[in-house]
Amino acid sequence: MAVTKVLVVDYGMGNICSVVNAFRYLGVDPVVSHESHEISKADSLILPGVGSFFKAMKTLRDTGIEQAILESVIGKGRKILGICLGMQLLGSHGCEDGDIPGLGIIPSQVQRFTPLEVGPKKVPHIGFNEVLSRQDSLLFYGLPRTSDFYFVHSYRMLADNLHGKAAICNYGVDFLAAYEVDNVYATQFHPEKSQTNGLILIRNFLRQ
């Protein structure tokens, strides 16, 4: 099997340490970088993220990382795995502090859990929750159809009108827990924080 170069995009937001440790545990030593030329050389990109959509997109735009990601993923068809905020950044736009365009790779917008949706449930959605995946999912291969993963977020994306393979979690509303289409993979939960379920998922991503 050809050695693929995995790069974790470090734009200053996110638990890079944990993501890198998970890959190392699986026998892969990722490059960690924010440099456009490094990003364009990688076979697989990992886009982590914790924090503000607005701040993240501003950083990605100002540093040229956005352009590098789009060229790799859309232009060259390189694999990408977006995690948590990283998944949201792949979306069409975020609705925090106004309307901010995302990378536009996944045609779904990012919005806060509404009181109508969650009712008495607490926001942020924190903890392990059940993810229902499809039988033909590549990311969830080998995992039970319903598996627990760790979530920590106040904003969510919905699966409406998406043509790829969606995995769903319910928190008052059925929201997009994970998504895969062609070379694009994304999880709202943190696989690097989800014990062996998460490690299996990351290993599946590496094997695509």
Binding site: N15, N21, G27, V50, H125, F128, V152
Partner: protein, 271 residues
Amino acid sequence: MLKKRLIFILLYNDGYFMLSRNFRLQKVGDLRWLKINYNFSYISFSIDELIVLDITRGQRDKKIFCEHLKMLIDGCFVPISVGGGIRSVSDARLLLRSGADKIVINTPLYENESSHFVHELASEFGQQCIVAAMDLKQSATTNYQVWVENGMRCLENDAFEYLKELSEYPVGEILINSIDRDGTGQGLDMKILNIIPESLSKPVIIAGGVGYAKHLHEGLLDSRVDAVATAHLFNFVGNGLRKARESLVSSGIALSRWDPSVFESNISSID
């Protein structure tokens, strides 16, 4: 369905891990001792989260703590919350770059300028990154009072007032600890939950007094509790946490499930 959480707390003091009883500390061992006697990357497969608190009484060496933190959490694939002495955004950033997923803030929450500091942290790292911790002791009048600075200083007002203020802060969750029950193994002080105002609709982690699985069970059964935490280094390590978790699951508590045997031989090939 959102699962409840079983959290282990490690108390760090100047290079050593400690047992605490009513906030009096007893040295247990250093990181090497911990790794030899209580293989934490194995134990971490029995918990939902790990909290590491630097409760060093004297001058804290933040760099050394971060180095120990990185070594400690190697092989732990659970959320890690870290706190103790966070007084600035750069303090928080240092911990988050050393492997912390969330930061635990205590004393600064109850001082002047606390609102500004919390908003600064939330704006920089996100609200869900912040765990607001509160240590409580019952006063002579049986009301609860808040003690800060590793339980050294008592705040003026009733704890309820500070909890109400916390409802306005951009924090992700609340960690409420009973100093009276701390380390006694007598069980959680469930009455503490009665003083949490309705306006404080954040996930609640309750701690202080857990000695046995039945205490964890009692805490997790309560609908106001989202997570229980224990720092009892003796009672729960070795097989203790795994057995406690198994007993909780078999008694019907909704905890998350995964197969810990999958990576037992630490497969390093992805072929």
